[in-house]
């Protein structure tokens, strides 16, 4: 299998998985990642940097988007904030893309 074919298969698999588990937003994010990698704009490892950025932003986003509801627990779903959900999904999709779009595995 050629390098391109293997890369294409991986990209297709990543897009499918991201779409299945993430719906439209997951699909769009995965397509964007694949497009960026295929065009040479971004290396897969940079996607992992993005993923790390999303992950590190998550606590802040979570707290800010729930600020008005913190401390008012009843049957409230404190964790409903959409911004936090999107960031969470993007962590997963960019992690998936970053790891599996790497052209070949390597060891230290």
């Amino acid at each position: 299998m050629t390098r391109w074919r293997r890369g294409g298969l991986r990209a297709a698999l990543v897009v499918v998985v991201a779409g299945v588990i993430g719906g439209t937003l997951g699909l769009a994010a995965a397509l964007a990642c694949v497009g960026l990698v295929a065009s040479g704009t971004v290396a897969p490892r940079r996607l992992l940097v993005g993923s790390l950025a999303f992950a590190m932003a998550l606590p802040v986003v979570w707290v800010i988007s729930n600020l008005s509801r913190l401390g008012t627990y009843s049957v409230a779903l404190v964790s409903e904030a959409p911004a936090a959900q999107w960031c969470g999904l993007l962590v997963v999709v960019t992690l998936l893309c970053g790891v599996f779009l790497e052209p070949r595995e390597y060891d230290a």
Partner: protein, 1086 residues
């Protein structure tokens, strides 16, 4: 090099071992030493409170359940039960057993994560000590272990999961295949099959990425993969055979429990990626009721910004690991992470799920047994293991690369993040479910157990979940663990055979409706094999919809068949309700009252064969039948819907009588409350979940005059079925009543359909909305014969949808297309009318079982025509029924004496007053002498004349305030002679001796009906069982001399064979594993 990787055999000789020992010490302090002496239970209470009985139950296919027996779907607790029982046998106190068990699981989990990381990285870049320690710590020091894995059914598989993957990897290695297969088998046996093995089944999904990894990274051949997997599958099947067989036996019960508890959409309402990434997302954490949050100790995860932020530590480390590490295992670990997270997220958001979520919902709705997997958060071990090992690898890389100063920041930051994310552990909230049993309960249990026979204890009131004022929310009832006799109680949801649920909940609803009259409780106690009634005044009745203590006490005190025998606890202790619910009289009640049943039942009983009452309806009629004098605890009864036609004929020939009732009502059950149900529906409507038995013909159904049917997408509240706001109210011609639906913003899309009796030309439809504050329907779409028109309400309450030219159609559908107002109230429509169509009238049509039986067999018809046939009608209080209107059909003419119970204290019934109309003729009644009053002040009245009803249909319309009506055919009800048989019992068998009998009898076991029970008398097979007394197992016992009877649950034999196979396999795998390990070690030394 490999030797250097091997863990040191000597303890505490390296920094790594010292750090791990110190961390284990911290775990010991947190898990064991906090709140010493306090008992916390993390799963079934009887596992810890009565481990001997629990262990015995794990090898039984039939258990007592809520008292009347149920197939057992928890045989898979066996390994856990063995461990806990061993601790108990060694004299370790209960509180310490629970703590040590959890500590062991935590340490096993940590050791497993560490070993798996070593194995995954062994080939090229072995994990160093930092990664090894981090793997152990990150896998167990996260919010998922605190919240999601707070119970043994989740924590046990979580702890063994890394070991499972380790064993699977070895089974794929041709040089270690056999040992790996042994490991897979032993790990899966240790995981057990708790709750039908749902969590282990989830975790098996992780095997696929491991196999792909072995193929890609380790270059295993297809043959190696196939052999390893095949061997593992065989080993898993053999060691799990016992609980697989047990679960298959109990499939119906398990499915019913799954149907009645949380729904997939409830579970998915909070499981977002943000929540699952921080190890949370388990729905109970986010829920609560007016008593407070369901999981109060963990609310800090939602309320404290610092703690909330810290819970993302593991997710950040995992991504850091994926970024920094060069190890090839990161692909596998990422795959595990993504797989686990996707499963945990499941159907979130339920209103707009991802394709995976939609597929899951479809499976839950359509695939049998799939519903058991609705709590997808239980797959957390997969994601957490992936994240923990990725994080560990990342930390090691950072440790190697970064300066010592940066290392200090790294360790400090990670330690602080982890520590904050475990806040509940530091403040003593790690162990939920504190069990502080009041002394009065243990005293009562001891007293009840001292009776020493096989009769049961009927505990009242019934319950939804087991809600006592002295302990947090719990599904399992602690009373069953304290009282070793059969503790019988009803539940709002089925946790045993359907008919047991039907009878017990029907009786409970009758009691709650105020229909307990003299001898109701004692009669029911006898039918359910009980010699004691235990009144539990310390339950949170208001949350369960159970009758309040004052009502239940009045019922017990007014029953001459009950003798108060003991009071337990102080007056008012744990009795008072909440706020305005406090009743001054109740604060004087003790929390527990024991009544002795003067004419008790027993586990094994002989009833007369010739004296049965054949009921068209269900067991819910028992309280009214006792009031009517038709049942007394001794006379056996059968539901015609459950009786074989041949048996009905035999019974009628032997003098049985027939009772037509308006029970077995076709309506949706409310599994959360005992005092509510959905509305009565027509035969054409299929309720989602119903207690009614048989087909629509066997049930009481709604019928309409004026329209053919009126149905809707839903009615009432999203919090469960309720009869209020039922669709009929939109066609009843009364503008004050309305079809209501769609609270909390769910109104748009709801529809109501009126089916007309015949097609007609419709040129307009008039629709009214009720005058309700808050949200209201503001626009509707009216569809007639395929044509639709949308009309807004504007500021008015009435709109007219016009069709020009007129449309010929036999149905009108009104759909809510817009709702105005932001309030959370229900919205609705008060009237939907078609000019020329009169306002509708609603009736309840009684079961047609008798007519159906007669139609199928001419000889049976003759017997049914000749049989005395009473009619017993009861107002459906939990449906909110104000007045009874009933239709029924008779096979023959009957001359009836009329008796009724009325609850209208304003009327003076000393002289004849209108009671009801029968086929349009007014029937009068006056108070029966001497005048008596029921628990709610009801008065017994007798018809001032008799009423003769001919063959064919009849309609009875009662006046307001009439609760019950008996049309008495006038036959004598003789006192039945029953014989209680002393029995030797086990959960799955009953044995006793029957005295000589001159005529046939009914041998009845007070256990829920299941056709798999078998019986012999004098060594002769008695054939398939009958259902007797609305729930019990019975056989016709021919006349004969004294003989022994033996009754047993047939699947037990098959289960015991399976258990033997599993235990032998486990022994074999353990022996083989030890031999292989010994040979390997010897070879290494050589």
């Amino acid at each position: 090099m490999l030797r250097a990787l091997r863990p040191s055999r000597r303890l505490l000789t390296t920094d790594e071992s010292r750090v791990l020992a110190a961390l284990a010490g911290v775990a010991f302090v947190v898990v064991v030493l906090f709140h010493p002496g306090e008992v916390y239970v993390d799963t079934r209470m009887d596992l810890y409170l009565d481990p001997g009985a629990f262990l015995r139950d794990t090898w039984s296919t039939w258990v007592s359940g809520s008292g009347l027996g149920a197939p057992n779907y928890n045989n898979g607790y066996l390994p856990v039960a063995l461990v806990v029982w061993a601790g108990h046998a060694l004299g370790v106190p209960v509180w310490l057993v629970v703590r040590l068990w959890r500590l062991v699981l935590v340490l096993v989990a940590a050791a497993g994560a560490r070993r798996l990381l070593v194995d995954l990285t062994a080939n090229r870049s072995p994990a160093g000590p930092v990664a090894r320690v981090a793997a152990a710590v990150l896998y167990v020091a996260n919010p998922y272990v605190v919240v999601g894995a707070a119970t043994t059914p989740v924590l046990l598989p979580y702890a063994l999961f890394p070991w499972l993957l380790l064993a699977v990897r070895r089974s794929l290695d041709p040089t270690r295949r056999l040992g790996g297969i042994c490991g897979v088998g032993l790990v899966m046996f240790a995981m057990g099959g708790i709750n039908a093995g749902v969590v282990p089944a989830f975790l098996m999904l992780a095997v696929l990425p491991v196999v792909i990894d072995a193929r890609v990274r380790d270059r295993r051949t297809w043959r190696d993969l196939l052999l390893g997997l095949a061997g593992s599958v065989v080993a898993v099947l053999l060691v799990s055979l016992y609980w697989l067989v047990g679960t298959a036996t109990a499939l119906g019960t398990a499915s019913a429990v799954a149907d009645a508890t949380e729904t997939p959409r409830t579970v998915a309402s909070v499981s977002s990626y943000a929540e699952t990434l921080r190890g949370l997302g388990s729905w109970l954490l986010y829920g609560g009721d007016f008593l407070g949050p369901y999981r109060p100790g963990f609310v800090i995860y939602l309320e404290n910004p610092l703690v909330a932020a810290a819970t993302f530590t593991l997710a950040i480390l995992a991504v850091l690991g994926a970024l920094l590490t060069r190890d090839r295992s990161r692909a596998l670990l990422t795959a595990l992470t993504v797989l686990g997270l996707a499963l945990m997220v499941g159907g979130y958001p339920p209103q707009q799920p991802s394709p995976l979520g939609r597929a899951l919902f479809w499976a839950f709705d359509h695939v049998p047994l799939a519903l058991a997997f609705r709590t997808t958060n239980k797959a957390g071990a997969i994601a957490l293991l992936g994240m923990a090992l990725l994080g560990a690898l990342g930390l090691e890389v950072a440790w190697r690369r970064w300066s010592s100063r940066a290392r200090g920041w790294l360790v400090g930051g990670v330690a602080l993040g982890l520590a904050l994310s475990l806040t509940p552990a530091w403040v003593g909230d790690l162990l939920p479910g504190r069990l502080d049993i009041p002394t009065y309960w243990t005293t009562a249990a001891h007293d009840l157990d001292s009776r020493g026979d096989d009769s049961g204890v009927w505990a009242l009131p019934g319950e939804s979940n087991a809600l006592y004022r002295w302990r947090p929310l719990s599904v399992d009832d602690v009373a069953s663990s304290l009282v070793h006799r059969n503790l019988v109680y009803s539940r709002s949801f089925p946790d045993g055979p359907d008919d047991t649920w039907n009878l017990m909940t029907g009786v409970q609803q009758g009691l709650g409706s105020g229909f307990a009259t003299t001898r109701t409780l004692s009669a029911v106690a006898a039918y359910v094999g009980s010699s004691d009634v235990l009144m539990r005044n310390d339950m949170v009745w208001e949350l369960m919809g159970a009758p309040r203590p004052a009502v239940m006490t009045a019922a017990a005190e007014g029953d001459p068949g009950l003798e108060p025998s003991a009071l337990y606890g102080r007056a008012g202790e744990n009795v008072a309700g909440i706020g305005t619910l406090v009743d001054p009289a109740e604060v004087r009640l003790p929390p527990l009252v024991r009544y002795h049943v003067s004419d008790p039942g027993s586990a094994l009983r002989l009833y007369p064969f010739d004296h049965r009452l054949l009921i068209a309806g269900d067991g819910g009629v028992v309280p009214s039948a006792v009031w009517a004098g038709l049942l007394d605890g001794r006379r056996p009864f059968q539901e015609l819907a459950r009786a074989p036609a041949g048996d009905v004929g035999e019974a009628l020939r032997a003098g049985a009588t027939v009772l037509l009732t308006d029970t077995n009502r076709r309506r949706e059950v409310n599994v959360h409350r005992l005092d509510r149900s959905g509305p009565l529906v027509s035969a054409a409507v299929e309720p989602d979940q119903t207690m009614a038995i048989g087909t629509a013909d066997d049930q009481t159904v709604a019928t309409y005059e004026g329209v053919a049917d009126v149905t809707a997408s839903a009615s009432g509240s999203i919090f469960g079925p309720a009869a209020s706001g039922r669709p009929f109210l939109a066609v009843d011609g009364d503008r004050r009543t309305a079809w209501t639906v769609g609270d909390f913003g769910n109104g748009v899309g709801q529809w109501l359909q009126v089916d007309l009796n015949a097609p007609r030309n419709i040129d307009r439809v008039v629709v009214r909305r009720p005058a309700l504050p808050g949200a209201a329907v503001s626009e509707i779409r009216v569809t007639v014969g395929g044509r639709s028109t949308t009309v807004p309400f504007g500021n008015g309450r009435r709109v007219v949808a016009r069709f020009d030219p007129a449309v010929r159609a036999d149905a009108v559908r009104v759909t809510v297309t817009r709702v105005s107002g932001a309030a959370n109230n229900q919205v609705g429509l008060s009237e939907v009318s078609v000019p020329g169509v009169p306002a509708a009238r609603e009736s309840a049509r009684l079961p047609r079982t008798v007519e159906d039986l007669a139609a199928g067999d001419p000889s049976l018809r003759a017997l049914l025509e000749a049989a005395p046939t009473d009619v017993l009608l009861t107002r459906a209080v939990i449906e909110g029924e104000a007045t009874m209107r009933r239709t029924f059909s008779l096979l023959a003419s009957h001359d009836y004496r009329v008796r009724a119970e009325v609850s209208d204290p304003r009327r003076d019934w000393r002289s004849c007053r209108p009671l009801m109309t029968v086929d349009g003729a007014v029937l009068r009644a006056r108070a029966t002498e001497p005048v008596t009053h029921g628990t709610k002040g009801q008065v017994d009245v007798t018809g001032c004349g008799r009423v003769t009803l001919g063959t064919g249909p009849h309609t009875v319309t009662a006046r307001k305030g009439v609760d019950r009506v008996l049309l008495d055919d006038g036959h004598d009800v003789r006192a039945a002679r029953v014989v209680d048989l002393p029995a030797r019992t086990s959960p799955t068998s009953f044995s006793g001796s029957v005295p000589a009998t001159s005529s046939s009898s009914l041998l009845v076991v007070a256990q829920g009906y299941d056709p798999r029970w078998r019986a012999t008398a004098g060594g002769r097979d008695l054939g398939a069982p009958l259902e007797v007394n609305g729930y019990a197992i019975g056989w016709v016992l021919p006349a004969g001399s004294a003989r022994d009877v033996h009754v047993w649950f047939a699947p037990q034999t098959r289960f015991e064979v399976a258990l033997g196979v599993s235990l032998v396999t486990v022994a074999g795998l353990a022996a083989l594993g030890m031999v292989l390990a010994w040979r390997r070690r010897r070879r290494a030394h050589a």
